[in-house]
Homo-oligomer: 664 residues x 2
């Protein structure tokens, strides 16, 4: 996959994979120390990688940071690294197995030297892993930077990052590969699926699963949209038939989430991340505490009391979140006041402008919601950072939980209020439409076009500078300029925001689409543009992210399932409130409610039973997995039996004889 | 643990562990073949165990089956077997690790030869496992029994069992050990806990977990019982205060189940079954199908279409279960007719006898329910057998599901009907009391006293026979008679019925104890006698069962959790129906119901959040587990790095040189 070293970028003698950017005021002794640690062989505690300083480009100005370093590795090093990180690759019999150097020739696509066996993203992931595991030996601090303390076993790169000596570590794009990917991904208008395997090869499994989920979700919405259109066109004011729609909604939510689990398992299996064991997780770079001994590893590292963290969570973060929820409620009430005022103005003297005015409060509210979400997001990040979680995964889970609850509340509180407190379906429909459309437009602008515009400006400036100096005819930038350009690109912050957006869209559709069937259509349209804009931003706007091995969409699966449970409750209530159902119980409202509640409980029970009955792993993959497990059990047994015959029984029986002699 | 071969039972030259009973009409050539297969060394496909025929006793009569065989093994064989089954034992550093012969001396309590390292139950488990893995080589059938077909890789013992050639395989009791265990367990009246570790050593983890759960459940009920007594004594007719009781009930159910998970994890860790990997599961003995190749193992074995089985389940079993439920409803209606008749008789002319008559329908109904449960149980076993499940575990799960649903319905339908359709709390209380007391009395009789009485008769007969012949002064039976006596004992059918009983008791308490607070007291009393009667029947009535490694109570945890969800719904409804709560909403029943439903949903959500927040594994065990995992990861990494340095890099680089030469 990785092109051989091209002749024109003469400054490097190997394929550069990853870039390290050190602060421009880093001491020379620190640089020399770091480079030698990276280059040192394993025996001396190094990681045996290749590393070289990037030239200043052609007549680079003083303003440019000279401390950019290119990291690469020999093929053999990468292969042994692949074994170390536990990469799964396709075996000659079609199953996925952990790669080992010992039987590398039995893996599919391993040809000759194996120099096209690993994709560049995999190579970059291996390099990142190796860099992360570069540990201090007996240094007490980084040479020349006495404030950056080290102790044996501490990850050097993480310490440098947290002390600001190391500004960033990022993998390089592959120009050719990227061009090919972006062509097949978003540049040609087509009705085919996304090239998930190519995305995975270029960006890793985490990204590919997100795009897979986005696509799956879009296709799953199509039946809803198809049913929604005639409802919208022919029954605009007739809520009665929405009952059927709501029931469909319920079943659909459960089924698509269960099927997604199966689909994602298939994907993860074919990408080799399903059976892959998680590596031991290191503390996050920002984690601090009193020096002590980790009870698990026995290493000296900062420890932080769990009780203290829980106190922070329950006594500070929780009240803060509740306060924010209260604030959000307050803003909602102001919105309803405005809404009422606009309506009274319109009722007094209805003109075209007052009709427009009717939409103004919703639009303002939608914008305010987006702003509140944004501000809250920063507060949540600050709080979660302050809670000082030891592991990145628990940090992420806490952050997701905080942001999810607030976003859910912020986006849906007004809709719940309109639906159940005001019981005004016309207003509900109008608010839903306004919220949906406004937030979509805002999102697309904030997410893709704004960053792209900023990026383009920077890009052009760089181009102009280079051309001024060198008058390059072709648009190809030399490696040094390319690296500097990429170093200036924005950093992709992960799939968090993308999933959050999908989560809220899923909420709009599953909770309320029975009163506004066009919601599904709007979401489908949004998702289609989302695929393109997300693909575009991944390829053109952001630095290439390190690939993130993932076997599923993690905590988001849970979030979507929780939403589908809430959807059952909401839809049942909406059904119970519909005039058609009310007509069945003309004399007694109590009867109506009791029936609604009973049916709702039945549906919830059915939902749980369904999620038990539908197996999460498709049959053919289950067979493959158990075959592997069976084979390893058999191999173990054989090894043991050989061992037992060879070592255990024979010396034992002689020992036995001697001990029996002793007894006598 | 196992006593050395006692001098008096001169017929055997090794410690007998397990007994094989073959049918008395088994051909001599079949016996000779089986014995030689058992004795053969590994290289010849045997399992290297010791086996000897049991003598006919002193002047045995012709009626006795001569084909009883004692199986044992050498210590070294048992140790290697322990490694093969993946037994976890305590390591010298206090952690639990898989036993290996290689570093056996690093395990705690491994002294000298290690002949007291394994408990007798563990030895018997190993022997059973070895017997189960005795596989056919190229025999086409059992010699002398052409109807018992064999094919390569088929488990011989399972085939012999399913063809009736082998009548039973059972482990022997240890007289001394049993005496000690039964003394500390149930013979001394005490307030201490059960000797769970001793129970586990003698009967295995499955049994010990059951008794652990029984004890835990009893203690967990004590607060309920303590609160229940004053409610019963002082507020007999005052439902109002039961609201507090019901709320307590709710929280209590969730909390005890979550805490049990933690407790059972601790137990399983200290017994070494928590991290133990499951062995590959063989098909059940009764499984049949068309011969084909197993996609997982690649072995030739009977295959049975999954679709066919699912059709059986959904088209036959499911309708049958529904039919039975309908029948049960029908019986319930008859009970209510009887109840009404008895009431009318009492109302007409109330005497002492009519007061007694009032209880008669409930008692009859309780007896009928027990009988229906029993009959249904046989039907469910037949049906599940007929569904032809491949694995014992899926057979068990299907059977448990069928029996659970019916038992739940059968026991609780009438109570639900009284509570919610008739809304008659006095009747509910009376029915609950009658059902609870009757079923307890019936259970204790059926479970312990009846089998004990039968066993005692047999025991005495045997004693008389022996004494007649030999006039042994002491009550000690010689080995041959002891084995024959145990062979005649009833077989313990597993913990199914015991758990089922606890499940129903849990239902009575959690669902309805707010209207009959004495239920908890009754259940506590029942549980205390249950401990004694269960212990008694394990020690005196039944054959010793093979120990069953278990890490938790399996599907029963799920069943209890489902019950606690139902309990939330039921208690909320009962609260909503209470006069005190009704008084808060004097004008609107709708408001009352809506509030009840809202609170119920809140409680359910709280319940799920609680079960997420409370970690299933206690912190100190989590640390131990991750330390083990960390160590194995580190060991693997070191091994790989050594390997990489030694094998991967060096030959590679020379190859690389040659391939580069080729390119030029």
């Amino acid at each position: 996959m990785v092109p051989a070293v091209s002749a024109d970028c003469s400054s490097t003698s190997f394929t550069p994979l990853v870039v390290l950017e050190l602060a421009s005021d880093t001491k020379q002794e620190a640089i020399a120390w770091l480079l030698s640690r990276i280059r040192d062989p394993h025996q001396n505690g190094g990681i045996e990688l290749l590393v070289e300083q990037l030239g200043l480009g052609d007549g680079g100005s003083e303003k440019e940071n000279p401390n950019l370093f290119l990291v690469g590795a020999k093929w053999q090093r990468l292969l042994s690294g692949a074994e170390e990180v536990g990469l799964f690759k396709e075996f000659s019999d079609g199953s996925m197995r952990g790669f080992t150097c010992a039987n590398k020739h039995n893996f599919k696509h391993f040809e000759g030297d194996g120099d096209s066996f690993l994709s560049m993203a995999e190579c970059q992931y291996i390099i990142k892993h190796e860099l992360d595991t570069l540990r201090a030996k007996d240094e007490t601090h980084v040479p020349g930077h006495p404030q950056a303390k080290l102790y044996p076993g501490k990850s050097i790169i993480r310490r440098l990052l947290s002390k600001g000596v190391l500004i960033q570590v990022f993998p390089l794009h592959e120009k050719e590969e990227l061009k090919r990917l972006s062509y097949s991904w978003y540049q040609k208008i087509k009705l085919s699926f996304q090239p998930l395997d190519d995305i995975r090869r270029y960006y890793g499994e985490g990204q590919a699963l997100y795009f897979g989920f986005l696509e799956y979700f879009t296709f799953a919405l199509v039946p809803m949209a198809l049913i929604g259109v005639p409802y919208y066109l022919f029954d605009w004011e007739n809520y009665d038939k929405y009952v059927v729609f709501a029931v469909f909604n319920l079943v659909w939510c459960t089924v698509i989430l269960e099927l997604w689990k199966r689909f994602s398992t298939s994907l993860a299996y074919s990408w080799g991340t399903l059976s892959r064991k998680k590596a031991f997780e290191e503390p996050r770079p920002g984690f601090h505490g009193v020096l002590g001994f980790n009870p698990v590893t026995g290493r000296e590292e900062p420890l932080y009391s769990n009780t203290k963290r829980q106190l922070c969570v329950y006594l500070v973060s929780l009240p803060f979140v509740l306060l924010c929820l209260y604030l959000s409620l307050y803003v909602m009430m102001i919105y309803f006041l405005m809404e009422g005022w606009a309506l009274s103005v319109h009722d007094e003297e209805p003109t075209f402008w007052t009709r427009v005015l009717l939409f103004i409060p919703s639009i303002i509210y939608a914008v305010v919601i987006e702003i509140m979400n944004l501000v809250y997001r920063y507060a949540a990040e600050f709080l979660t950072e302050w809670e000082n979680h030891r592991l990145e995964s628990s940090y992420q889970n806490q952050l997701i939980l905080k942001v999810l609850v607030f976003n859910f509340f912020n986006c849906f509180a007004s809709l719940f209020y309109i639906a159940f407190a005001m019981q005004d379906m016309a207003l509900l429909r109008q608010s839903l439409a306004t919220l949906l459309i406004t937030s979509q437009i805002l999102n697309q602008i904030m997410e893709a076009f704004l960053p792209y515009w900023l990026q383009r400006r920077r890009n052009k400036k760089m181009m102009r500078k280079v051309q001024k100096r060198k008058a390059v005819a072709e648009a190809e930038l030399p490696l040094a300029e390319q690296v500097r350009l990429e170093a200036d690109m924005s950093t992709y912050l992960g799939t968090f925001d993308d999933y959050l957006e999908l989560f809220l869209l899923f909420g709009y559709v599953s909770l309320f689409s029975c009163v506004y069937p066009l919601a599904a259509v709007l979401v489908v349209l949004n998702n289609i543009t989302e695929v393109y804009s997300d693909a575009f931003k991944m390829c053109r706007v952001f630095k290439r992210p390190f690939s993130e091995p993932a076997a599923n969409i993690g905590v988001w699966q849970l979030a979507f399932e929780a939403m589908s449970v809430i959807a059952v409750v909401t839809n049942c209530s909406l059904i119970g409130m519909s005039p058609q159902v009310k007509a069945y119980f003309p004399e007694s409202e109590t009867q109506l409610i009791l029936w609604t509640v009973a049916i709702e409980h039945g549906l919830l029970a059915f939902k749980f039973i369904l999620s038990f009955i539908i197996p999460d792993v498709p049959k053919h993959i289950q067979i493959k997995l158990s075959r592997l497990e069976f084979e390893s059990l058999e191999a173990l047994k054989k090894k043991r039996q050989l061992y037992v015959v060879g070592k255990c029984l024979k010396p034992r029986s002689s020992q036995r004889g001697s001990s029996e002699e002793k007894r006598r």
